[in-house]
Structures are given as structure tokens and as C-alpha cells.
Symmetry: C2
Subunit: 348 residues, 2 copies
């Protein structure tokens, strides 16, 4: 019998950050695709849209009027999933029906007054201003003792359930630790307690040696396809320095983060020469929850596309009922992303 | 301050079967939808399609010719994610890059020779023949000592990544326990060890008392919206008798299962008067893995639609990075499904 080869044979890989395993089927993209083909949203937008609730000067659902902002702009979500004034309480029927109330604050951040732009099309100084706002919002929400976790994220593209193409992200903050954060806390704590170094410091050291999953290596940050990536072109940005949250970034790190964000998202757009859809978000240490020295800041990108601009990976059936599964190797995806220009195809 | 009310205030509910929690935001459907609207696939198909790889007499990708079958038909997936002849092996770089080989067998089951049908449009005797084949395949795969878990499922509708509308399902079987099964095993074992009864026996007893999440109660089976449902119209069929696998179903249970499958899927189709998309699958005890007396057979339905035939729930952003979240209460969804006729709108 042949020798086991992770590039060739079906196998599972462990996600270091969650402890879960993902099924990898390297040979599987050979199957023909007769399924759903997505329609591409129109990518030629005006700089100002009078019907957009994020454009400067427009009126939102609650009747308030957006200021005539010049950089970025933040406000409390008019349709928040979490509300600050939720009464505390629990519910329990025989240990079988269990619920507890959950309070929180949801914000929306417009990245630019220009309706036509996206993150990779913003200038580095403009992205730095978005990072300033993320830092400020994080610090502000963390100063509320009822908040234990702050999720900063962006849904980009209508295929990702984004209901408005204006460049924007969200922040959902809440009083308990969400599932993924609880898992990542446990895994990072176990490693840190045993080794005295952060899990991601040791992980990126190995990746920088192996090189084959690295997409971009810059001063202060690395972008790579994690060994355990689930989505075909999933990536992660990791800070080289072991910091817990974005608030700790120095000015030099802020600039470097803006640069790698622009370059990684430009590579994504260059892949199929479209505005590349994804959900992306930072994972950071819990707040108001004691010491979390084990935590190492990072940012995940989960893009849905698989074969082309219009054929995505469906996480259905087996994936929903049993286990996440991917059809191409992370190494193959990293190689493709690495070969893309760092300069956006519309800026070349 | 008001009293905490699970029908009104944001809260989390515990999934008894996995131990995980889901965020419920009862008030959230009030937000307007300006996002992606799905296109509906054509639902008027011929009974025979010469290009379909599942229709009787047609040639498949590997060159083999489908028999002229009259009921259902099973074969090994021509593009299997898992393969029987995978060499054994592990991979480990410093405890940081960890992988192990995974062998398995993937099958495809055509539910009917008629290309135009779907599960709710099959007759009860025809569904019974599909159940017979599921039983036979389960027993056959379980007789292979290399197989530890058998996932029977169906992806229905192109929005669920189903690449062929011919009524069919799949079986993926493998040598280790997938994530969801490992979690459900732990939760059921803990309960069974402590109480001496299966977790789902106790759970459906409470649900049959409370009634508000029950969709269908029949002899031998209950269909309900679980207290912890994530997808808007998620449901679960549970056998009243505590059995581990489909192989243990009596003839009476087989008929009752066929009936409740037809009625539940007819209700789904009646909801928006379309062929309702979903991923569905049975969860059953692991095989060749010692005693699993704690396991209680059940079947999950995960449908993606939220507001209408064309607007789905997007599990993105917060959900991918932090925690599953739903926008309507399970009680509201159960009420809507309960009010639908058990007879398919095309058969009325
Ligand atoms: O095997 P199919 O139907 O071609 O593929 C579909 O179901 C599989 C199992 O749920 C998924 O892995 C695929 O992403 C999906 O497109
Ligand atoms: O808040 P939005 O952009 O309207 O909504 C989108 O993002 C949310 C958070 O990831 C999801 O819960 C919604 O399903 C999605 O459509």
C-alpha cells in the first residue's frame, strides 16, 4: 500500500484554535459542477446613493440623519440582535429546556463616505482611520463592565448576506463568551500554560519555516491559509507580536495592519477579478473577565467561493450534520493566493 | 425593569444534543430586507431527463450504465469525498500541524426512477422502499469493521448545493466519529448514565406536555421544532421508542416513519408553495464502537429559508466567527408549520 500523503489522500486536520477536526478531500474538485451558479451583483456603484442608509446626510430607519462625515462613521445598529436593556433572567424546565437572557450592544461602522468603494480600494491612510475607530470602539465597549466579548466583523458581498454594498462592518458585543471564543480560549490557555508562549507565536514560527501556506509576510503581520482552513480560500492575519487586542497596536503596527489588509483583500479581488465576497473578523481576548494573557490577536477571513466567481462551496448536508469538509488542500489555495499581485486589478 | 421573557428578549438557549448555546433575537425580523433575493429553480421537470446521471438507463461519469430500476437505486459515489483504500497514517509537526488519514465509503441513493418527483410527492409505499434501502445500506456498511459512523442525508434544492434535482440522498460512512456525532454522544451518554433513560425520551415527554413546539404527533414518531433550533424552520423527527438505529425499526415503525416524512415535507412545501429546500439527515449510534445504549435515533431538517421562498437566513459574520444566531423564535416557527396542511398543495 502507498504511504499516507496529506496532499493526496483524504484525511482530517486539527484546528489548533478550536480543537475541532476538518475533513480534507484533496481529490474532490475533479467532480463536474452542474449545480447552482450565483449571479454577480453590479459592481459599478455611484459614490453617493440617496437610498443608502450609510451615505452621509441620508436618513436612517429610526429617523436620525447621518452626519456629513469625511472618514468613517459609527452608530448603534437600528436592528440590533442584542440590546443593552435586556432584563436578566434564566429559564429551566427540568434541565431539558434551558435559556438565559443575553444583553449586548451592536454597532455599525461605515468605512468611508464613498458608496462605491470597498476595503481593498481605500487608501492606506483611510484604512488607518478605520482602525483608529475600531480601537476607539473596542476601548469604549470594554469600559462597560456588562460586556465580556466584542466581535468586530465585516460581511462583504450580497452572497454573504450583506444587505448594503456601502463599505461597512459591524461590532456585536455581549455579556457572555460566544462558542468559538470559548473554544479558542481553552485551546490557547492550554498551550500557554504548558509552554509559556502563545499558541499562535509557536504556530506562525512553524508556518514561516514551512512557507507553503504563507500568503504575505510583512513587518509585524503574517497572512496565511491555516493548516486547518475549512473554506477554500480561508485565510488568517496574525500579529507577529503576542498582543491580546487591537488596542495594544503601536502606530507602526497600525500602519502595517492597514497595509496587509489592503494587500490581502486586493489579492482576493484579483483571484477572479471581482469584488471578492467574505465574512471577516478579529478574534480578541475577552474583556472584564480576568487575565487572558494566553490570547493572541488574529483576524479570520471566510470567503465562500470555490471554483469561480459564481460557484461557491456549499457547507450543507454532511457538513451540517457531521463535520466540516473541504475539497482542495490549503497548500493549493495558498499557492494561488501567493501568485496574485498585491496591487488591485483596478489600480494596476 | 421587565421580567425576562424568552418570547420577547434576546437570550441564548442550550442545544441539549450538542451542549452548545444558540443566540435567539426574537425582535429581529422587524428589520427591512434589502439584500440578496434567490432565484427559484424551475420546478416543472420531465419524468425522464437524458442528461441526468440518476435516471434509469443513463450512463454515469465512470462509464457505468444505470439499471432500468423501478423503485430506488444505490451506487458508490463517483466523486466520493472518502475512499475505502486510503493508506493509514498520521502527520504531526511539533504538535502544531496535526493530521490523520480518514478512510470511508460514500454512496448515492436515488429515491425514485421518476426525475420529476421529490420526497413529499412519493407515495407512502414508495417511501417505505427507500427506508428499506436505508436499512439495508446501514446494515451492510456496519458489517465493515473499518466503519465507525454512517451519515445518511439528503441535500434538497440547488440553494443547498444539490447539483441534481432528481430525488436522491447520500450516505457518507467513515472510520472515525465526526464532530457533531462526538458531541451528541457525550451529551446523551451523560444523561443516560445519570438518569437511566435516553435524553430524547425525557425531552420529547416535556415537549409533548408543552405542545407549543410540536409540529406533528403520530403513532411512533414526533416532529417538532427543537427548543434550541438554529435555522428558522429547523425541525427534528424523533422516534417515540428509544432505538439506536434505523435497523431496529419494526414494520409498523417503518410505515409510520414513511408517513411522517411525507407529511412533514408536505408541510414544508406548503409553507411558501414551492419545493422547499433543506439538508436533512439521520443521527444514529456509531457502529463497531462498543455499546451505545445512550443513543436515541433522530432526524434533523435544516432548511435555509427565512422570510419567503427567495430570502434565506445567512449564517455569516457573527455566526461564523462567534455563535449561531436566529431571528425568530422556535415557537413562532412551530406555530406556522403546525397550521400548514399535511397534504401537499399539489395533491389537494
Ligand atoms: O455531493 P454533492 O451533492 O455534489 O455536493 C454537495 O453535498 C456535499 C455533502 O453534503 C457537500 O460537501 C458539497 O459541498 C455539496 O455541494
Ligand atoms: O446585520 P445584517 O448585515 O443585516 O445581517 C447579516 O449579518 C448578520 C450578522 O453576521 C447575520 O445575522 C444576518 O443573517 C446577515 O444577513
Amino acid at each position: 500500500m502507498q504511504k499516507f500523503d496529506v496532499k493526496e489522500h483524504p484525511h482530517t486536520r486539527q484546528n489548533l484554535l478550536t480543537g475541532d477536526w476538518v475533513l480534507v478531500s484533496p481529490h474532490r474538485t475533479k467532480r463536474p459542477w452542474q449545480g447552482k451558479v450565483e449571479t454577480l451583483p453590479d459592481d459599478n456603484r455611484p459614490s453617493y446613493d440617496e437610498k443608502c442608509y450609510l451615505c452621509p446626510g441620508n436618513t436612517r430607519a429610526d429617523g436620525s440623519v447621518n452626519p456629513d462625515y469625511k472618514d468613517s462613521f459609527v452608530f448603534t445598529n437600528d436592528f440590533s440582535a442584542l440590546l443593552a436593556d435586556t432584563p436578566e433572567g434564566t429559564y429551566d424546565v427540568g434541565g431539558l429546556l434551558k435559556a438565559k437572557s443575553e444583553a449586548g450592544i451592536c454597532r455599525v461602522i461605515s468605512f468611508s463616505p464613498d458608496h462605491s468603494l470597498t476595503l481593498p480600494r481605500l487608501t492606506v491612510p483611510a484604512i488607518e482611520k478605520v482602525i483608529d475607530l475600531w480601537k476607539k470602539e473596542f476601548a469604549d465597549l470594554a469600559s462597560n463592565p456588562a460586556i465580556k466579548y466584542i466581535q468586530i466583523f465585516e460581511n462583504k458581498g450580497e452572497i454573504m448576506g450583506c444587505s448594503n454594498p456601502h463599505p461597512h462592518g459591524q461590532i456585536w458585543s455581549q455579556g457572555s463568551l460566544p462558542l468559538e471564543i470559548a473554544k479558542e480560549t481553552t485551546q490557547q490557555k492550554n498551550w500557554f500554560t504548558e509552554k509559556g508562549r502563545s499558541l499562535l507565536s509557536d504556530y506562525i514560527a512553524v508556518e514561516l519555516q514551512e512557507k507553503e501556506r504563507i500568503v504575505l509576510e510583512k513587518e509585524h503581520f503574517v497572512a496565511l491559509v491555516p493548516f486547518w482552513a475549512v473554506w477554500p480560500y480561508e485565510t488568517m492575519i496574525v500579529s507577529k507580536r503576542h498582543v491580546q487586542t487591537i488596542v495594544q497596536f503601536t502606530d507602526a503596527e497600525k500602519t502595517a495592519f492597514a497595509e496587509i489588509l489592503k494587500k490581502l483583500t486586493a489579492k482576493y479581488d484579483n483571484l477572479f477579478e471581482i469584488s471578492f465576497p467574505y465574512s471577516a473578523g478579529m478574534h480578541q481576548a475577552p474583556v472584564n473577565d480576568g487575565d487572558h494573557a494566553e490570547w493572541h490577536w488574529h483576524m479570520h477571513f471566510f470567503p465562500p467561493l470555490l471554483r469561480s466567481a459564481t460557484v461557491k462551496k456549499f457547507m450543507v448536508g454532511y457538513e451540517m450534520l457531521a463535520n466540516p469538509q473541504r475539497d482542495v488542500t490549503p497548500e493549493w489555495a495558498a499557492e494561488r493566493l501567493r501568485s496574485m499581485s498585491e496591487v488591485h486589478y483596478k489600480e494596476q
